[in-house]
């Protein structure tokens, strides 16, 4: 197996509670690898630590114990190394309201000091590819939710990152728009040979997107690892779906008993 692009080694993350009632364990001795070019869907219920895991990979927070490595480097400490290497699509579009659609896509390229003419051409290209040609000069408030999320996807892809991280990027959209964007996203990831970690709470979405699906229990630890691509037919996929549902349901039952 090739050197993993993401490595979690016995990682735990604790947060102090705001009301002073001790610490909250969000990630519990999590160990996992993600291979280059792989799309991993991370599935779990709300509050199971998916977003904490996401923030650890993105280097936005530091593990309490254990080690997180991305491309062999610590994403929290090696700030410079990750310039332009990671593209993130967040749950909300997180567009800068003072920037037009084009300027929002240009953001990452500006930060990476890309040559301005080339950067504009790249940003325009991504907007075109995502069906936003003609909206380059629109401010975010003039775009629909789906269009704004497309802009944020374009922003993440424009820097040509090695790794794409997506935190429930389509959860706030209507089903039709989400389905279209999902298909577009998978096509773009595969076409460009990217590695992606896709966080979701929808089983269907996880199975559609992921080469591998990780089901997390609270606090974040792997309860099930499945490969939807290996399910040969619809019956096998249904069986896998039932199994995932059972694991998620088991956690819910455990939570109720607790």
């Amino acid at each position: 197996m090739a050197q993993p692009i993401i490595e979690f080694r016995d990682v735990s993350k604790m947060f102090g509670r705001a009301d002073g009632r001790g610490d909250l364990l969000a990630v519990d001795r999590l160990t996992l690898d993600v291979a280059p070019g792989e799309i991993v869907a991370v599935l779990g219920k709300t509050g199971c630590g998916k977003s904490t895991m996401f923030n650890l990979i993105a280097g936005l927070i530091e593990p309490s114990s254990g080690q997180v490595l991305v491309s062999g480097h610590d994403p929290f400490r090696d700030f410079e190394f990750f310039r332009g290497k990671v593209g993130i699509v967040f749950q909300g579009d997180r567009l800068m309201p003072w920037r037009t659609a084009l300027a929002n896509v240009l953001l990452g390229l500006e930060i990476l000091d890309a040559e301005p003419t080339r950067a504009r051409a790249v940003a325009r290209g991504w907007l075109e590819r995502l069906g936003l040609g003609g909206h380059e000069n629109d401010y975010p408030h003039a775009l629909s939710g789906g269009m704004r999320q497309r802009v944020s996807i374009a922003r993440a892809f424009a820097v040509e990152p090695e790794l794409l991280l997506c935190d429930e990027p389509f959860s706030a959209l209507d089903e039709m728009t989400a389905r279209d964007l999902r298909a577009e996203f998978v096509r773009l990831v595969r076409q460009n040979g990217k590695t992606a970690v896709f966080i979701t709470h929808q089983i269907g979405e996880a199975m559609e997107i992921g080469d591998r699906v990780l089901v997390l229990h609270r606090p974040a630890r792997i309860a099930l690892e499945a490969r939807p691509t290996e399910a040969e037919d619809e019956t096998a996929r249904e069986a896998l779906r039932d199994k995932i549902l059972q694991v998620l349901g088991h956690e819910a039952a455990a939570g109720t008993q607790a």
Binding site: R83, I88, W98, L107, Y139, H141, A142
Partner: protein, 257 residues
């Protein structure tokens, strides 16, 4: 629609000014002119100042003092706000001092400046900076603290250098606060500069007001006061125009509040 609304607003403003002028003129019919000079006299004196270079120079001197003081307070206040925003420890030291400064009246600063310094211009600059510094600092600090955590994390995911982070995120975030601070402090500065000039200067609108008081010339006093009012109005409108351009991205609801 928008042009109509603007025209209505201007007409309303003109109407209330005309009513005020009418009341003044009415009063001038019944009381001595050294107390309530007729409106045409005031207008004539006001225009004379605007079109006489030696008199207009006095207005421009005051304007330059206001700008210099505000610029000094803005630069210092902006730097302090960013330092405080970055470090709670610095906040612990600096904020009490700023609150203390806020409580000192402008007139006290005038007295202190006259005792401490010799040069007129530096005295006025010192007074202007000290009286407007806390407001600039707190307003820019508020704007800095309103920075979205989501946008900050999104920007940091691209790993920007410090200056780039300031340029692409911090500066656009604090621009509305900076513009508000300028609007608020402009009025304060216009009041303070007159006090400073009244006591310690040999030129400017404040000095001219002192002369009108010594001559018991009410029309002159009002005409000089109006120069300052006109100056504040022009600068306010310029800031509003800049604000309209800089914040053009903001969505405006068609329904009025």
């Amino acid at each position: 629609m928008i042009a109509n609304a603007r025209l209505t607003r201007i007409l309303r403003g003109c109407l209330s000014t005309l009513v005020l002028a009418g009341l003044w003129q009415f009063a001038s019919l019944f009381v001595p002119h050294y107390l309530f000079p007729p409106v045409p006299d005031v207008i004539t004196r006001t225009i004379a100042i605007l079109f006489t270079w030696s008199l207009l120079t006095e207005v421009l001197i005051t304007a330059a003092r206001i700008f210099a003081g505000l610029l000094g307070a803005f630069v210092l206040g902006g730097a302090l706000a960013l330092l405080i925003g970055r470090s709670p420890r610095i906040e612990g030291y600096v904020t009490p001092v700023l609150v203390f400064l806020q409580g000192i009246p402008a007139l006290s600063w005038v007295v202190i400046a006259i005792i401490w310094f010799h040069g007129t211009e530096f005295r006025i600059f010192f007074i202007m900076v000290l009286t407007t510094l806390p407001a600039f600092t707190f307003q820019i600090l508020d704007a800095f603290r309103s920075m979205s955590k989501e946008l900050f994390e999104m920007t940091m995911s691209f790993r920007p250098r410090r200056w780039t982070l300031f340029r692409v995120l911090i500066l656009p975030t604090i621009v509305p606060g900076i513009l508000t601070a300028w609007k608020v402090n402009l009025g304060n500065a216009a009041r303070v500069v007159v006090v400073a000039e009244l006591v310690g200067a040999t030129g400017g609108v404040g000095y001219e007001l002192l002369r009108q008081q010594q001559l018991f010339d009410m029309a002159g006093a009002i005409a000089w006061t109006l120069q300052l009012v006109l100056f504040v109005l022009v600068v306010q409108q310029t800031i509003v125009a800049i604000e309209g351009w800089a914040l053009r991205y903001r969505a405006v609801s068609e329904r009025a509040i």
